[in-house]
């Protein structure tokens, strides 16, 4: 970029779920009816918040140590690498997560699921990626929970992930799932992704090699943000 040329970010058609998805009832009054208008990427879009250093305190990435005692549930390591789709590591970048506790309850005033809160588990974590884009959390495997989308609807166990990348088009909020969850088939949120391979990319995999014997199993979840097009954007400085 020192050459004054900026590469726009690719638009990957069909990767993200559409906002209009009738099986997910929450979309009915919240999905825009009109198609989005193409926004050519100018400097506002070729830049973005570089959030990281200063946003994470020691211990933020270990959600099992945020209360006075140990939380109930299956302790797990959730880790992976944040890359762009050209394979470049996203370094020193903020990763935020939030999740339900082992009983399937969020520590949120609007969550009225009849399951106990855990005084030792808040369900919120932050981490920074390192120079290879790697991040690592220690947490509790969240429980599935019922919701009112359809008769006897249950969300599969999941962890919400928020990522910034290096520029505005790379911003991503998504969810990570656990392998082999029998609730996948009835979940309209996961199934709003049309491509089966896209759905697979949200499912972490058991990573025995990174587990800590007698302490915690590990699950690996790599996250791939938008890559760039080959043609540079010519800035006014090229004149």
């Amino acid at each position: 970029m020192a050459d004054g040329r900026l590469h726009p970010y690719r638009r990957d058609v069909g990767v993200d779920p559409p906002n209009r998805f009738p099986a997910y009832v929450g979309t009915h009054f919240r999905a825009p009816a009109r198609p989005p208008i193409l926004l050519p990427q100018g400097l506002t879009e070729l830049t973005g918040p570089l959030l990281g250093p200063g946003r994470v305190e020691p211990g933020d990435a270990d959600l099992t140590t945020h209360g006075p005692g140990q939380p109930i549930g299956e302790r797990v390591i959730v880790h992976g690498q944040v890359l762009d789709s050209d394979g470049r590591a996203i370094r020193d970048s903020l990763v935020e997560i939030w999740q339900a506790n082992a009983a399937g309850r969020y520590r949120h005033q609007e969550d009225v699921h009849d399951a106990p809160l855990d005084p030792n588990f808040a369900g919120v974590g932050r981490a920074l990626t390192d120079h290879t884009g790697a991040y690592r959390f220690v947490t509790i495997k969240p429980g599935p929970y019922p919701w009112r989308n359809h008769q006897n609807a249950w969300r599969p166990s999941h962890i919400h992930f928020s990522l910034f990348g290096e520029a505005f088009p790379q911003r991503l909020i998504t969810q990570m799932y656990f392998p082999g969850d029998p609730l996948f088939g009835q979940d309209p949120i996961l199934n709003a992704i049309a491509d089966p391979q896209g759905r697979e990319r949200l499912i972490s995999r058991l990573d025995l090699g990174s587990s800590i014997p007698d302490i915690a199993l590990a699950f690996r979840f790599d996250i791939v943000l938008r890559g760039r097009v080959a043609t540079p954007f010519e800035t006014e400085d090229d004149d």
Partner: protein, 185 residues
């Protein structure tokens, strides 16, 4: 290269436990000269407030500079440029910032001062992106290539924040007759 990009998922109804930052709404400190509040409501297709949403902003400083290496040739700035506010029970949000300076479009054309806005909530599967322009920049808005790409003046006006008591007001309508223009970025 075929993409293996990670798909988006909804942020769900409980995003506020993680996305509420004490300093989130303060793109600039309260003591900043020229600081303005951008206040608005996030509304659904039947005009009901969205109480579980997240609004994020990204913009240049008053000189059109960004705290980002891709814009280093425009000069250094310590301006954070980023704001984040979860909506309250009435769908309200607020961001304290300054009006940005001019920033060029992809082809180098000047653009009117603008702020890029991201919207997340339960029921939104993939981030919605819109732009905020300023009512009192009428001449710049009339020449802005992005605004000019929207034919219908009523739709264009959904992107223009109105002058308010302590800054600007900017309501975001997810759907319906007043549906805000959203962009594919």
């Amino acid at each position: 290269m075929s993409t293996d990009r990670t798909p988006s998922q909804t942020a769900g109804p409980y995003l506020s436990i993680a996305m509420t930052w004490p300093d989130g709404p303060f793109v600039v400190p309260e003591s900043t000269d020229g600081a303005v509040w951008i206040r608005g409501r996030l509304l659904d297709g039947v005009g009901e407030p969205v109480p579980d949403g997240l609004i994020e902003s990204w913009q240049a400083d008053e000189e059109g500079r960004f705290a980002h290496p891709a814009a280093a040739s425009r000069g250094r700035t310590s301006f954070r440029g980023f704001g984040r506010c979860t909506t309250d029970e009435a769908g309200r949000f607020g961001l304290l910032t300054v009006v940005p300076g001019p920033v060029p479009a992809a082809d180098g054309q000047p653009q009117a001062p603008h702020i890029d806005i991201s919207v997340f909530a339960r029921g939104i599967l993939t981030r919605l992106v819109t732009r905020l322009y300023f009512e009192d920049e009428a001449a710049a808005n009339a020449a802005d290539p992005v605004l000019r790409s929207i034919d219908d003046p009523a739709r264009r006006s959904t992107l223009v924040a109105r002058r308010g008591d302590d800054g600007y007001t900017f309501d975001i309508h997810l759907q319906g007759a007043e549906e805000t223009v959203f962009f594919d970025v």
